[in-house]
């Protein structure tokens, strides 16, 4: 993407702070969704590993950061770090199970693992609060200065800043030789070993990285809402993330973020206009976009720009 467009994207995101000062909670959650979808894109879009259970990492990060705060350590940045480590570790442990078969087994194994984790959280009310959610999460001010406020100002800037930094890192990584190797694996998984690439090791690394990203997204949600519930681990969250990714456009970091932001805002707008039947309109948009079939919003945008040029 061209630098001017890139700068425009981030300036526009930041300008939400002044343009929509009353909608900051929404924008903050859009940024968190964008981070989650970014993590999915690293895995699905770049490494070509399909998953239906990414919420496992999101939820683990959320519960990790939430529990840390509940137990009396509410410092947000270290909470993010802890969540990233925790989720990354789970990624490392489960990657060998996921990377055994083809696409469909991968989808189902990730789904199964996330459902197991969700059920475990449900059955350990002493630790997680069970179906009631984790109560008593208190987060200290960011950097000791910025308290999480009712208007969601701190939450928005905090989430956006984390998203931006992690985006820069993701861009760095995807442009690196490691990122190139991942694209190679996605492009042709048979050729890569013949080039001498230890495909499995690269995929495990990508899986753990993506898991850590998702964990941070979950931790952000836990910290900004000061609450964690089983919903963080749900199948719906995994599926919705995938939906946003395909909506935006696979294998492009901006596509991932665009999809998340557009979906979150559209969902919000529609459900406010029509609290009962918003799903109908979302569904219609998804069907239309799939039928148009140009590789998501990003592809559609590029096609439109291309036609004009």
């Amino acid at each position: 993407m061209r630098p001017a467009l890139e700068a425009g994207f981030w300036l526009l995101a930041l300008s939400g702070f002044w343009l929509m000062p009353e909608q900051l909670p929404l924008l903050g959650q859009a940024a968190i969704a964008a981070l989650f979808v970014l993590s999915l894109d690293l895995l699905v879009g770049y490494a070509g590993v399909l998953t239906l259970g990414h919420a496992a990492f999101f939820g683990l990060g959320a519960y990790g950061a939430g529990l840390l705060a509940q137990q009396g350590w509410g410092e947000p940045l270290s909470g993010l770090l802890a969540a990233a480590l925790l989720a990354g570790l789970l990624g490392l442990l489960t990657a060998p199970l996921v990377l055994r078969g083809g696409d469909l087994p991968a989808l189902m194994v990730t789904l199964g693992l996330s459902l197991m984790l969700g059920e475990a959280a449900n059955k350990l009310p002493g630790l997680t609060g069970g179906a009631d959610g984790l109560l008593g999460v208190e987060i200290w001010p960011v950097l000791g200065l910025f308290r999480f406020d009712l208007h969601g100002r701190t939450a928005f800037l905090y989430a956006l800043a984390v998203l931006f930094l992690l985006f820069l890192l993701a861009r760095r990584i995807t442009a690196s030789p490691f990122g190139l190797a991942l694209r190679g694996i996605r492009g042709n998984a048979r050729r890569m070993p013949a080039l001498g690439t230890p495909v499995r090791r690269r995929l495990v690394a990508a899986y753990a990285l993506s898991a850590a990203y998702a964990g941070i997204a979950g931790a952000l949600l836990a910290q900004t809402t000061q609450f964690v519930s089983l919903d963080a681990l749900s199948f719906q969250r995994s599926a919705e993330g995938l939906l946003m990714l395909v909506l935006g456009g696979l294998g492009a970091l901006y596509g991932a973020m665009l999809g998340a932001i557009v979906f979150t805002l559209a969902h919000h707008l529609l459900s406010e206009m029509s609290p009962l039947f918003w799903q109908f309109w979302i569904g219609l948009a998804l069907v239309g976009l799939a039928l148009a079939g140009r590789g998501g919003l990003l592809g559609l945008g590029a096609a439109l720009l291309g036609r004009r040029a």
Partner: protein, 250 residues
């Protein structure tokens, strides 16, 4: 010491023996061809050599060291590269990017995640030089692979293997499917391989085989039917019966 050797290599699929007790030895710098009718087990043998498949029995030796248990990528690191009969390319990458990736991989750099791939100038330059040597134009180097004509893709297939600077190179029907007009470039590329590279050529095209090979192994029903210099193979009655005599010549 042989550059590449097998001892009693065997592979079964269920009840079907695709490769049966094959023992080969390629001397350093050899130009060796492997021929045989369709279904003789040639590609299975290549897969066994490269590590894409595990043998049911037997051993594979590279430069005298046993590599039977090594996975494919580890064999590449030891200097054993291959091409594929059916193109295994990266449709979305440019030839420059793909060959660059192979060069980076050879240097053991694809685990690095900080410095951009584009900033590895030396590797990129090497990739360009390699492609230029195969008569790729600058525009072709930067076009997505999927948009290239088939003959060019076939060359790229070889370029990817060459970028690994192998000691032993397995060429699986490099000219397969290439229209006559474009095949010369492929033949040239094969002929131009340096003597330091040991080559095992699997081929249908007898002109190519007899022009290029100094030794030929004939495979039939998974087993070695005959082995020797081209002239001897051409005279061998058993070989003529199963293979050369057939109408499929060329």
């Amino acid at each position: 010491m042989s550059a590449l050797a097998t001892e009693g290599l065997t592979r079964d699929f269920g009840g079907f023996r695709a490769v049966a007790d094959v023992s080969l030895a390629l001397a350093e710098g050899a130009r060796h061809a492997l021929i045989g009718p369709n279904g003789a087990g040639k590609t299975t043998l290549v897969n066994l050599l490269s590590g894409a498949l595990r043998p049911s029995a037997g051993r594979v030796l590279l430069g005298g060291a046993e590599i039977t248990a090594l996975p494919q990528h580890a064999r590449v690191k030891r200097g054993l590269a291959r091409t594929f009969q059916v193109n295994q390319l990266f449709p979305d990458l440019t030839p420059e990017g793909a060959v660059g990736l192979a060069v980076l991989e050879r240097q053991g750099l694809t685990g690095r995640w900080w410095r951009p791939a584009a900033a590895h100038a030396a590797e990129r330059e090497e990739a360009r030089a390699l492609l230029a040597g195969l008569r790729f134009s600058a525009a072709e180097m930067r076009a997505p692979t999927r948009s290239l004509p088939y003959g060019r893709q076939r060359l790229l297939e070889i370029a990817l293997a060459l970028a690994l600077r192998p000691r032993v190179l397995l060429l699986d029907e490099p000219a397969a499917g290439v229209p006559p007009g474009e095949s010369r470039a492929v033949l040239e590329a094969v002929a131009a391989l340096p003597r330091s590279v040991t080559v095992l050529l699997i081929e249908h095209d007898m002109d190519l085989v007899f022009r290029f090979a100094e030794r030929i192994t004939v495979l039939a029903q998974g087993a070695v039917l005959a082995e020797g210099p081209p002239a001897a193979i051409a005279r061998d009655p058993a070989v003529r019966a199963v293979y050369l005599g057939g109408p499929a010549h060329g």
